[in-house]
């Protein structure tokens, strides 16, 4: 992982003959208290999601079915992470630019967020974000 602040976190796993349990608990695997979650599914092949950064909101991404890839960028460094179900969560802190793509046809991406939805928290323009990212370096 070469992107500052971004972490791949191993979830709690319990496999037994009755099935598989994966767990994310606040203060253990989950590094923040959630205010919201959403799932992304039925993504057509080739589609790209994300393409923004948050000023304050932390995100925790888990591919709960199928797979997708995430590109993160911060302080001039970039990394790509393939999320396979569902042993790992990806913690994306505020100010990290992120995109999600390469969704498999059956992919369901779970995103747990530290804040409710507020458009004012978003950088949607890459150049504006880049300028803020550089000035804070």
């Amino acid at each position: 992982m070469s992107c500052p602040g971004v972490r791949v976190i191993r979830l709690g796993i319990n496999d037994d003959p009755r099935g598989r349990l994966t767990v994310g608990e606040v203060g253990q695997q989950l590094p923040f208290a959630p205010a919201r979650y959403f799932t992304v599914s039925r993504v057509p092949q080739g589609e790209v999601h994300g393409e923004h950064a948050h000023r304050q909101c932390h995100r925790f991404l888990v591919s709960v079915h199928g797979s997708c890839s995430v590109i993160v960028e911060f302080k001039g460094r970039r990394a790509e992470i393939c999320l396979d179900p569902p042993e790992f969560g990806l913690h994306i802190p505020p100010m990290v630019w992120g995109i999600q793509y390469k969704y498999s046809p059956d992919a369901v991406l779970l995103v747990v967020a530290s804040h409710g939805y507020e458009t004012s928290d978003d950088f949607r323009n890459y150049a504006a974000w880049q300028s803020a990212d550089s000035s804070d370096a």
Copy 2:
């Protein structure tokens, strides 16, 4: 729905050509602040999960892929709900007995919980729970 306190809640849905987004936000669709989530998957056919009640913990169940059914019981009343992906969440408040079964082979059940994992919060014995449920009637 004939089981007191248990509610089927319609999630926020956004369908567009880039895919489907479903949202659960605290104070809107999610009736409590989460402390933990877990997913249940790879459940063999015929297997039954749950079979317990919590003293304090609220749960919010969403079938994010495939489907399963939930039986809830409280104050002598029982209901069965089939969870199809992923437009609806099922809020199960404390003291409601619940089981999950009829998992489809591809099912992924997301459970959001108001408390961390504590075995002391569980009723695992149906008769003991029934006695407490009746005395609180």
